[in-house]
């Protein structure tokens, strides 16, 4: 990868992180939802750079197109946030923050780095060809080949969720 590509990737990673920060800490839920959108976009780009182009597309379609809009709808249907600004438990954030910084983060980070360094010791032979080859037909073959059973299972799940959501949200 060329240098500029790497820079673009880093930029998008920073975008993802910043939007993720906004999602968790912004007092207004609407802003949080929109920042979530951008976070998904950053993630899609990262997928792209990781050679998962089909997934990046799916990500964009499903997450950005679907889930975020769904969330916006939910916000509008529920708490007229204009009148009622849910008072976040601002004061109480100090404890989780500390916990995260000193408790969770160092260990997750150290674990990941340790894992990564061990993984990178052996680079798979067809690294290059895989990284930059289109994956759609591979995914298609895999879905209907090795992963036929989960594919079918997931369809049943979607059906269940669909029916459930409709029944749950029906008007009285």
């Amino acid at each position: 990868m060329s240098e500029t590509a790497k820079i673009i990737l880093v930029l998008f990673q920073l975008l993802t992180l910043a939007s993720a920060l906004l999602v968790t800490f912004s007092p207004n839920i609407l802003y949080a939802s929109i920042s979530l959108l951008f976070a998904f976009l950053g993630v899609a780009i990262m997928f792209l750079y990781a050679g998962a182009d089909f997934l990046a597309g799916v990500q964009v379609v499903v997450y950005i197109g679907g889930v975020t809009i769904l969330v916006l709808f939910a916000i509008m249907l529920t708490s007229w946030m204009y009148q009622v600004k849910l008072r976040d438990s601002r004061g109480k954030l100090i404890v989780p923050l500390l916990l995260a910084l000193f408790g969770l983060l160092p260990f997750l980070y150290q674990g990941a780095q340790h894992l990564a360094s061990r993984v990178l010791r052996t680079v798979p032979p067809d690294f290059q060809t895989f990284a930059y080859s289109p994956k759609t037909n591979a995914v298609g073959e895999a879905l209907l080949g090795n992963y036929l059973l989960p594919f079918e299972g997931i369809t049943v799940l979607l059906l269940g969720a669909l029916v459930g959501a409709v029944w749950l949200a029906r008007p009285k």
Binding site: T24, A50, A52, G66, V67, F73, A112, P124, I154, L162
Partner: protein, 107 residues
């Protein structure tokens, strides 16, 4: 090795994944608004996908990782739908979607 190599390599992907996961958990835990909780969950799921994709590229160079990420995305969508339906129901019942109020399950 430079910062760029680091960031765009496996380490960068894992670093972003970790941060996203941590922020996701904090959101889930401390968001008063149940929709905020939902957002947190979405973040978490994406962090997982990042990891799958990263390892799919840097470790196995095989499609499996991506298949998993695909399934995560599908499930996340279904889950979001159902969750929002529950939130609407909650709102209709309790006139509020404050996660703290929904404590019927207490002792």
């Amino acid at each position: 090795m430079s910062f760029l190599d680091w960031a765009t390599g496996l380490h960068g992907y894992l670093f972003v994944g970790t941060i996203l996961a941590t922020l996701g958990i904090i959101a889930v835990v401390y968001r008063r608004n149940s929709i905020g909780v939902l957002l947190g969950i979405e973040l978490l799921l994406n962090a997982a996908s990042i990891n799958f994709i990263a390892f799919s590229k840097f470790r196995t160079a095989a499609i499996d990782g991506q298949i998993f990420a695909l399934f995560i995305i599908i499930i996340a969508a279904a889950e979001a739908a159902v969750a929002l339906a529950i939130i609407l129901r909650l709102y209709r019942l309790r006139e509020t979607i404050d996660a703290g109020e929904a404590n019927l399950m207490r002792n």
